[in-house]
Amino acid sequence: MTLATDYQSVKEKMNPNKFLVIVTDKEQIKTLKEARITNFLFPLKDYCVGFFHSFSIDEIPENGYLYINRMLDTDSYQNLERLFISLPSTIKGIVFEDLGLITLLEKLKLPQERILYQTHFATNYESINENLKFVDSIVISTDITENEIQEILKNCNKPLVYMLYGLVPVMYSRRTLLKNFSTAFSLPYKNPLTLKEKITNNAFCAVENEYGTVLYNEKYYKGTYHIDDTKIKFYLINPLFLSKEEQIKIIQSLIQKEETRNEKEDQGFLYRPTIYKIKEVPRE
């Protein structure tokens, strides 16, 4: 019997208290609380890319998690240190991409939970376990298969975070690609902008701020329920661009473990392993 089959037999509903939802608009919190969501991740103002709304420390409610997804240059790093010196203890945790944060959090002896979210790097259990020596949890990559995720969960030393639903960042550039495009052609500035690759027809949604540009896959990743829930700290949800009504509908369907997908959703690489070397491409 495969692991997948084992987990398929688990019919219990999902616990919304294990959802960690990225806050893309302050208004959404009240609605989500009504859906029994208790964990919120707030993109921190000046330290995030790929979002239109970000929050200053003062705006983050009790038990909120801070999100810092920028790769920090030395100026930003030093500014963050100054900001963190008076970080309220009501902030429950910090989710971050840049490993420099580990040094900073150690130096300032901050007690908050530390969750490492290196978008494309948590792809094997040994590296995850090495990094878990420095953090409390890690967000598993969405670039891998269901079997790989199951193997990671089986071997990891602490509960991990799994992205269950939402827009997946595909590329992060320090350049302001949308601004550069509009300047080059004297076009009106559009942000976000949907980009459709001409040969493969893959579409991406580009979102930009002064710190860079993020390209999201146009489709919402709908993850797998066939994983060991006891090894999961949080199920991450990135509802960027979804209305409050859509968010509620999706969260309800996730709680019910609905397997159906609409045309706006896909399963990423869960059942489509990527190719390592071109010689591995099957010849027709």
Binding site: M71, L72, D73, T74, S76, Y77, D98, L99, G100, I102, T103, L104, T119, H120, F121, T123, N124, Y125, E126, S127, E130, N131, F134, D143, E148, I152, P169, V170, M171, Y172, S173, R174, R175, T176, L177, K179, F181, T183, A184, F185, L187, K190, L193, T194, L195, K196, E197, K198, I199, T200, N202, F204, G212, L215, R272, T274, I275, Y276, K277, I278
Partner: protein
Amino acid sequence: MNKVELLAPAGDFEKLKIALLYGADAVYFGGQDYSLRANAKNFSLEEIKAATEFAHQLQKKVYVTVNIVFHNQDLEGLENYLKKLDEIKIDAIIASDIVVLSIAKKIHASFELHLSTQSSVLNEGAAEFYKNLGVTRIVLAREASKKDIERIKTATGLELECFVHGAMCTSISGRCVLSNYCTNRDANRGGCAQICRWEFDTEGQEQPFSMTSKDLNMITHIKEMIDIGVNSFKVEGRMRGIYYIATVILTYRRLLDKIFENKLTEGEKNYARDVLNRCANRESTPQFFENLPTEKEQYFLGRDEVSNQDFLGLVKSYDTEKKMVTVEERNIFHIGDTVEFFGPNLETFSMTLSTIYDEENTPITTANHPGMLVKIPVDANLQEFDMMRIKMFDKKNYV
């Protein structure tokens, strides 16, 4: 000034030889597994051994890239591979995945640990984190500014390696899986299909969207980089040909030497810039060093990317008695063409071709078969691996 290192890419053994002969202090290349240029020829363990011995005979160094982002199934064999590299006595590995650093430590490897640019270190905290893991050198993110480099150096004292020349990713290194989505090739395991160089449609716009970056060229900032503590000057391009490698490495070698002799003139700097620009197939700029790149550092319509045909031939031997060079043809040339010879131990000179012989010593007017051997009378002490190219610029105009 502290001595600095010129570090060259080596996609195969021939390129490695050229890079070292043309003035690189060290070379980097991938093995047949675990390297981000999965489709470069790359080196078997036997070839790594031979390459290491060759480099060490010249008192130069070799660094092996083990810089993929590992999936579970890629872990098998990694420890053995690192042990083999240690036995071969390579000088360092270039890695980004923490599992590689951890295994290297576990096996007490004697090679150094260099952190790949894939880890995109941009601040002192990240550098410190890796220093605590045993990393002795950091290949900084290409996005690092002069201020970032300076501060990281001051704060950590680590050896710093910076790219100075070659192609740029549009994305921050490692933070792009466009290739995975568009082609199913894993960008972080060596399969990058360079989707950022493709064109995109946007709703309601006639012009195609492009995010292609121009190349990097730090020729005008080398002295500043030395002054702020950069230890290693890295050239990108494991997939590039020998002519590119020879031209770029020789140009930087001579520039660095002139800087250390305190003899670098503006004219020489400008000459170097023009030679490098001509040998590349894309425009190049200093990118992030002083400012955030704008639309001027990118390509949109009318991308000026040309196939370079300046490389006419590779010197195979020189008969000092007959004063005759044997050249392996790479691009067509004729009697009457003005050509230049250049090489690591040669002051570049030009001449007009008045006679060309084929292998049987029969006079010919044109060398038009790639790989054919021709003989040309030349009164200069040429050596194997010198190169012949079309005459590009008159150096005396730069004085």
